[in-house]
Symmetry: C2
Subunit: 373 residues, 2 copies
């Protein structure tokens, strides 16, 4: 398994690469749809393949609680359990556990938390997080890190950076299948340049096959996120994949790629879809709004996806107003397709050395001057 940069943009930091995993090769830059509970909400695996999804992300925290990693191991691993033949990335559960707020308690050893489902107590260590991910069998697995709010004081961030480094070493040590599961290190450091540098050096010293930038897209302004990328990415080696965790709005995808990011994941596409909102080449459309009740055009007139070829805004609005599940399916399908196609366009622009121009045109047409995401 390895990563190769195939092409580098002459004007930006963007690159095209391929990441070889136990379940096939992923062309980067890539957007990974999120399948939290071993299913990308509302979609079948066949639909994801039709859309062009190359790899999906699934959540260790959720699968550990339900149905349990041991059950999935008995099923033959996560790929077989959910019938997804392509690569999978599992997160470590860290982000979810640290989002539990006062339901959890942290020590250097690990984290004690209460399940959001039934209040039961659990203790997760770096070793346990890797054990769970070894059972799940994803192609890419993540170190157990401490993710702090971006509003944290400097001293707290120092502490989380140090703990994240120690835990990363323990994760690497505990990992049983390095030959078939790529373990990525995660860089923390909040919005402090020196701490991002410190964390990057610490994590790089452990020599992982890929590096993720964590602790972003947690409520901070986008410009602040871009600044962090601007001073962190240059420290990363060229020959390893770079994964920006939890980021995936159209503008952030383009800005991330321009700065040299190879991998993204985000729940935005599927979450807003279930709320009746779709991404289009002219910006977001809230298709459940009354203004679309007699609009017999497709969600996005410039889109050639299954949904846009076959259904109208009026019909999809009707499905939402009547609470019909097909509505959620159609908007989800379209949003994922839109995003995968956007990544294709980004790759094309990289090859043509005009990614910056592509960004400007895309954002203008999308209406990003309004600063929505």
């Amino acid at each position: 398994m390895s990563f190769k940069v195939l092409y580098e943009c002459s004007k930006t930091g963007a690159r095209i690469g391929e990441l070889i995993t136990a379940h096939g090769t992923v062309e980067t830059p890539v957007f990974m749809p999120v399948g939290t509970q071993a299913t990308v909400k509302t979609m079948t695996p066949e639909e994801l393949i039709e859309i062009g999804a190359q790899i999906v992300l699934s959540n260790t925290y959720h699968l550990y609680l339900r149905p349990g990693h041991k059950l999935i191991e008995k099923a033959g691993g996560l790929h077989r359990f959910m019938n997804w033949p392509r690569p999978i990335l599992t997160d470590s559960g860290g982000f979810q556990i640290f989002s539990l707020g006062n339901l959890r308690e942290i020590t250097d050893e690990g984290v004690t938390f209460r399940s959001h489902l039934d209040g039961s107590r659990h203790f997760i260590t770096p070793e346990k997080a890797i054990e769970i991910q070894n059972s799940l069998g994803a192609d890419i697995i993540m170190c157990f890190d401490e993710c702090v709010p971006y509003t944290c004081e400097y001293e707290e961030v120092v502490s989380s950076v140090e703990r994240t480094a120690k835990w990363a070493a323990r994760c690497k040590e505990a990992h049983r299948f390095p030959e078939r599961q790529l373990l990525f290190g995660i860089i923390q450091g909040g919005i402090f340049k020196d701490l991002r540098h410190r964390s990057t050096k610490q994590i790089l010293s452990l020599d992982f096959p890929g590096y993720a930038i964590g602790g972003l897209s947690v409520g901070e302004p986008k410009n602040l996120m871009y600044q962090v990328l601007d001073y962190t990415i240059p420290m990363l080696p060229d020959d390893k994949p770079r994964y920006l965790m939890g980021v995936g709005s159209p503008d952030c995808l383009i800005e991330g790629v321009i700065r040299g990011i190879d991998m993204f994941d985000c729940v935005l596409q599927t979450r807003i879809a279930r709320n009746g909102t779709v991404l289009t080449s002219s910006g977001k459309v809230v298709v459940r709004n009354a203004r679309y009740s007699e609009d017999f055009s497709p969600l996005d007139p410039e889109c050639d996806c299954y949904v846009c070829r076959n259904f109208t805004r009026a019909y999809i609005r009707h499905l939402f107003k009547t609470g019909e599940i097909l509505g959620l399916r159609l908007t989800t399908y379209h949003n994922l397709y839109f995003t995968v196609r956007l990544m294709d366009k980004i790759k094309k622009a990289i090859k043509e050395n005009n990614l910056a121009e592509f960004r400007d045109k895309f954002l203008q047409k999308y209406g990003y001057e309004e600063k929505e995401n």
Copy 2:
């Protein structure tokens, strides 16, 4: 448009036929999945075609209220609105309106009722029910009838039979597109032999291109329903399709075909699917039950549908326990496939003149001695 009987069973009343409509030919006997609100719940049109659904039913009452028949007419009719290229049958709304209980008031002119959605008042006459169905544009449309509970007193049933006949004449008169929409008459008469005979004679005298038996599957014991079929069907002409409304459990499908029924519709398959219950060759399986948590076999080991080829009971149970929409999709798909395949097997048994033996074997294996449906 016409109906032809292609083959008659030598031992039972069963027959194989074809019904030619404006959107293609339907092979009978046929099971029609129900798409109440212009969507068979959770399914795309492509999936229904893959399953082998030849025709779907949609509900006039629901579509009249939301999104409104005029909107669907503007969309180019129901086929285009829901993107279903094959035949559609719409009911008249009668059954739903009469199920509203004290939300409605009946006179010879029509029915005043309050919407179950917002309490708004509506007045539906036979002419209006046909006008709505003309706007929707289904291939087969139904007369507006009065459907009474099976526990009704004789005199009340007399009154509903008489009203149903008068309304049927008005429906026929009001129908604007007899050349492209087949208007079926509906026979009422409750569980009274003489009233079923009276209603049959009245409706037959109006000469419709097809006849439905209404007022059954409304809570009465199955044997009582079979008795009504036994004394009603022999009065019906051989050269017209016979539709048993609202009936579709596996045993009733077989018993109906044996008695000479050509068309069925039922919400059972899709409704129980959403509750985590599937039909299998060995009877119902409540896949959300804990006993299937580590069952890595398919829903029905004898089924070759997309779901049974790709997913396990354990995975589908996980989807139900976690509230994931894919679970509803998979059980719905399987239940519809199971039923369409059952109709195929019934047709094969008719051709081989062993439908009665097929019934006995099927019901024994299914476990129908327990009298479940």
